[in-house]
């Protein structure tokens, strides 16, 4: 690692490792308050139905029940995380739109009573025809899910850069493929949970959240409260992966119940309810057309997609734009057309899941490009090298790419995996596949329009200089931002990681930050922290200058020692200088904030996909397929990342492993399945099959040398980028092994078996046809 640094670039132990491993860490569900009630939401059993009446009288009379509420008891203001389409109510007013839509809520003394009370609420429904497929949903005559959205079109995008038609006309080869994605769900290990305490005019919410800020903003808006009167506190969080970014309904219902009862109310989802609340990956139908010259250089690309949004918008507008926007990052071409319809259906609403809208389209493009390479007789890895984006370039949709070591990633993955020796030489049933990807290091613009900075930080040095506390709104949901940001703070201050304390993600005590999404915190929150640390150091050096009778410009501080750059024997400790500062001037505090430069073009949807910096990755996987069963045995995966300077290598590898785990699950196993009435068939961890520890292959996670000029210490993202190439990478490895292409996700054993069977039948059909011709001769 770089010896210019003493704290960053090292795998220091995780801040919260000990309390988590010993079970001391308190998650929202572990918290108890005096007089706390338990609340639960009643949901719809129908996919689409008009609410005729709701009778809560029996439930209200049940001993132990303290409140039963419906839409009549809460604000009717519509909300959503995407301001352009606020389409959700706290409780349904006229209609329910999916199995699991929120209808009423109960607060009672204990959990048992709550469940009993829910059963006593009588809701009379008039069942309406429902639609579950996005293609059917946008047909004439389909049931209309929201009055405001004709043809069930939630979002429609038509972007056109350069001249794709001309590029195709001039191309040596044009190919079109159609791919199907699937619905997946994040499945964080910790269920969503919130405790709401409404006292006087103030509402405090403890929440399992990825963004205290967005929760605070939307809760205040919904109840007409001042932001300052809503305090959202993140506890320890057991994973989010995109699903805990927006208010979950638990906060709204809990707040209303707490206001009515005057008592704290704890609310939570069980595992099945988590699947029903969803906000997971959109299922996309993806038609991809590419025109290439005879050397495989991409001349133009047309992405024509439809996505199943489910019953509400959630983060889906962004998902829809991301789906197309991110395809331009990895390859250098000028002509790009992107068409997308996000349709409403009577299924749970989809949102952002690790990689947001990008992984499924990336699967489609990477599988498609392998077919293009085959058509041209070019090695698929070579085709990627010929098209790979270079540093300091601009994409057709006007994303400015600074650092970009994609070529080096591909080349290193080629060497590590033994691609040259293996490609075409593996025994029957074995295959090797490659795919690449790229992701934002933070979204260029916040989710709602505001000129607040992206991130802010305060560092307070303790009176005697023996510790320093970082106050940040950045949100650690398990990925390790508390640790990384304390490393960055200590580095900037010239201090020790071991002496750092942190207070994070509490809207009352920590400065504003938008939270954990779009892989933003290391770059964006890190920028604010670095600035705060430098401000502390500046003040410290000035104080030291007075104490040492040296000009501050001659001094520096590192690892807790202030020293003269010119006469190294002249030193003071950080602690004694900090103490003196406090005695003479009061608290030693540093402040920082970060606002990205203005990014992106002027066309409609231009902000989505903008970022100060982009990560790049190449993934190669080797698989073995059982030719009789279709079973896929993943032998090994190599991930090579360009993620700039690395603050904590161990945490980085943890992110790569985790992202790959999710990507693998989505590639081969995971899919949320519904019956014909829109009810989830596998809302549990037995039948929604995520990989287990024993399913994981050997993983090699490597890096290439890279430095991002737009970021503090040259950092970039890694948390989501490693999910993006995985599905395409497996599709290509399976094709290499067996010569069959599965055009839909997941690439399940049965689909591979079927594809092999069809291939065999076709070959034997061809053979017998050939035999018949031979007979005639």
């Amino acid at each position: 690692m770089n010896e210019n640094y003493s704290v960053i670039g090292k795998s220091v132990p995780k801040m919260d490792g000990r309390v988590k491993v010993t079970g001391q860490a308190k998650y929202t569900g572990d918290l108890k308050f005096p007089n706390m009630l338990v609340g639960k939401i009643l949901t719809s059993p129908h996919a689409h139905a008009r609410i005729i009446s709701i009778d809560t009288s029996k439930a209200e009379k049940l001993p132990g029940v303290k409140a039963v509420i419906t839409h009549r008891d809460v604000p009717s203001l519509k909300y959503g995380i995407s301001p352009a389409r606020w389409d959700e109510n706290i409780f349904c007013i006229d209609k329910v739109r999916f199995v699991g839509d929120k209808v009423a809520a109960v607060a009672a003394l204990d959990e048992e009573t709550v469940y009993r009370a829910l059963k006593l609420i009588r809701v009379e429904y008039e069942v309406l025809p429902a639609v579950f497929d996005p293609v059917e949903a946008i047909r004439e005559g389909a049931p209309r899910i929201h009055d405001e959205y004709p043809m069930n079109i939630n979002t429609e995008i038509h972007q056109n850069f350069g001249d794709v038609e001309k590029a195709f006309a001039e191309a040596h080869h044009v190919r079109t493929d159609l791919f199907m994605g699937q619905r997946t769900y994040q499945c964080p290990i910790e269920p969503h949970s919130a405790i709401s305490i409404w006292e006087g005019g103030k509402l405090t919410v403890y929440s399992s959240t990825q963004s205290p800020h967005y929760h605070q903003y939307y809760i205040a808006r919904e109840f007409g409260l001042k932001m300052g009167d809503v305090r959202v506190i993140k506890t320890f969080v057991g994973g989010g992966f995109g699903g805990k970014l927006e208010p979950t309904g638990l906060e709204f219902a809990g707040a209303a119940l707490s206001r009515i009862t005057g008592r704290p109310v704890k609310m939570f989802y069980d595992r099945h309810e988590m699947f029903a609340h969803n906000r997971g990956r959109h299922r996309q139908i993806m038609e991809v057309t590419t025109g290439v010259d005879k050397n495989g250089k991409i001349l133009g690309l047309h992405a024509n997609f439809i996505m199943d949004g489910g019953a509400y918008t959630s983060l889906g507008i962004a998902s829809a734009y991301y789906a197309g926007a991110m395809l331009t990052l990895t390859y250098d071409f000028e002509n790009y057309k992107f068409d997308m319809i996000r349709a409403y259906t009577n299924l749970p609403a989809c949102g952002a899941q690790r990689g947001h809208g990008a992984p499924q389209p990336r699967y489609a493009l990477e599988a498609h490009l392998d077919m293009v390479a085959r058509d041209l007789g070019i090695d698929p890895l070579e085709l990627r090298l010929r098209n790979a984006r270079q540093p300091n370039t601009i994409t057709p949709n006007e994303f400015k790419v600074n650092s970009c070591e994609l070529t080096a990633c591909i080349e290193k993955a080629r060497e590590l995996s033994g691609w040259k020796q293996k490609k075409g030489n593996l025994p029957s049933g074995r295959g090797i596949g490659l795919a690449v990807g790229s992701f934002v290091s933070g979204a260029g613009y916040p989710i709602y329009r505001t000129n607040l900075p992206q991130a802010a930080a305060i560092i307070k040095v303790h009176e005697d200089g023996s510790a320093a506390t970082l106050y940040t709104g950045a949100t650690d949901i398990g990925q390790g931002s508390d640790t990384v940001l304390c490393q960055m703070a200590a580095e900037a201050m010239g201090y020790f990681y071991e002496n750092m304390k942190i207070v994070s993600a509490d809207t009352e005590t920590t400065p504003h930050d938008f939270g954990a999404y779009a892989s933003r915190q290391t770059l964006m929150s890190g920028s604010a922290v670095k600035q705060a640390g430098e401000e502390v150091k500046q003040q410290l050096l000035e104080m030291a200058g007075e104490m040492m009778e040296l000009p501050p410009g001659e001094l520096d501080c590192r690892e807790g020692i202030v020293f003269s750059k010119y006469s190294p024997e002249a030193t003071r400790t950080f602690a004694e200088v900090a103490r003196e500062f406090f005695v003479q001037k009061g608290p030693l505090v540093g402040r920082g904030s970060y606002t990205p430069p203005k990014l992106g073009g002027k066309f409609k949807g231009a902000p989505v996909g903008t970022s100060p910096a982009y990560s790049f990755a190449a993934q190669i996987s080797e698989v073995e397929i059982d030719g009789e069963t279709g079973q896929i045995d993943v032998k090994e995966v190599w991930d090579v990342h360009d993620c700039g300077m690395v603050i904590n290598p161990a945490l980085l590898r943890g992110q790569v492993h985790g992202a790959l785990f999710m990507g693998m699950g989505e590639s081969v196993w995971e899919e949320v399945v519904f019956d014909k009435n829109g009810r989830i068939l596998n809302g549990n961890l037995g039948e929604y099959r995520m990989p287990t520890a024993v399913d994981m292959p050997k993983i090699t996670s490597e890096l290439v040398e890279s430095y991002e000029p737009a970021a503090p210490w040259g950092v970039k993202e890694v948390g989501e980028g490693a999910t993006i190439p995985t599905m395409g990478c497996f599709s290509n490895a399976i094709y290499d092994a067996m010569g069959v292409r599965v055009y839909s996700l997941p690439l399940s054993y049965e689909k591979v078996w079927r594809a092999l069977k069809e291939k065999k039948e076709m070959e034997s059909g061809l053979k017998s046809a050939a035999g018949r011709i031979y007979d005639k001769c």
Partner: protein
């Protein structure tokens, strides 16, 4: 997802347990490992008034060899008890292996062999291998006890011949003439997956000829089933790859799987073909594994 109220009894003897069961009839359920029962109760699928725990009935624990009877497995033995039993490892490693591929380690530590059988789930992993090995089950009731072949125990999904006052007390694997046995499970991931297809076989091979073969299938009919036609087809014939493939094709034709979220009927049938052939080959070549 809340466990409803129930009374809890933990009698010290089988007799007492059966009397309680007889008194409460269908309002009582037997609690062994609880890995299935607790979930069903939490989901409101079952709401018994009384749970009769077997945990204080010591005679239900243990796995041992009894001269003249065979290997006797107490119904309360957990799956990991089966996996780790020296007697089973020595005589029928195939049973240990079948138990080892069930569910996940947490469940294997708690779930019991008796529960796995009495639940009568078509995809259960232990019945096929036990049926292939000719196992019998002993049922103890308030008015006496009976022993019957495991094969005739099941009557449908979640249904069996057991009476409301009866407790399955032990499983007996009689001494074998078979030379090899195995169970092959095809699930959709390496751990924590139910069988899409399970195939158990027991074979008696002498001089390259299949003197006797038993093929038992799981997850492809309402109850675990024997593929008797396939057994007949190969009985007395010399072992060849073609013969074993024929047996697979025949077994695939005999079963009647349904299509569900784990696999289509067509896929399951073809997997019966594949795994019948593979299981026969393994048992023939490797013995009880």
């Amino acid at each position: 997802m809340y466990l409803p109220d129930f009374d809890y009894q933990s009698p010290g003897s089988l007799k007492e347990a059966c009397q309680i069961l007889a008194a409460f009839g269908s309002r009582a359920r037997v609690l062994a490992g609880g890995t299935d029962l607790m979930i069903k109760m939490k989901h409101g699928l079952l709401a018994p008034d009384v749970l009769v725990s077997l945990k204080n009935i010591s005679q239900l624990a243990g796995i041992g060899y009894v001269q003249g009877r065979g290997v006797v497995i107490g119904a309360r033995a957990t799956h990991n008890d089966l996996v780790n039993s020296p007697v089973l490892q020595k005589k029928y490693l195939s049973v240990c292996e079948a138990a080892h591929h069930m569910a996940n380690n947490q469940i294997r530590n708690v779930g019991t062999v008796g529960g796995n059988i009495v639940n009568a789930v078509p995809s259960a992993d232990l019945p096929p291998i036990l049926i292939a090995l000719n196992a019998a089950v002993k049922l103890v009731g308030a008015d006496g006890e009976r022993e019957l072949p495991l094969e005739s125990f099941f009557t449908g999904p979640n249904r069996s011949v057991i009476g409301t006052d009866e407790i399955l007390s032990e499983i007996v694997i009689p001494d074998q003439t078979s030379t090899g046995s195995t169970y092959m499970k095809f699930g959709l991931r390496r751990s924590g997956a139910l069988a899409v297809v399970g195939v158990a076989v027991a074979v008696t091979v002498a001089g390259g000829v299949l003197k006797e073969a038993k093929i038992a299938l799981g997850a492809v009919s309402p109850t675990p089933m024997r593929a008797v036609k396939a057994e007949e087809l190969i009985r007395g014939r010399a072992v060849t790859d073609e013969l074993l493939e024929e047996a697979g094709v025949c077994a695939a034709g005999e079963c009647s799987p349904i299509s569900d979220i784990r696999g289509s009927k067509e896929y399951r049938q073809d997997m019966v073909r594949v795994f019948t052939r593979r299981a026969l080959r393994r048992a023939i070549n490797e013995g009880h594994v």
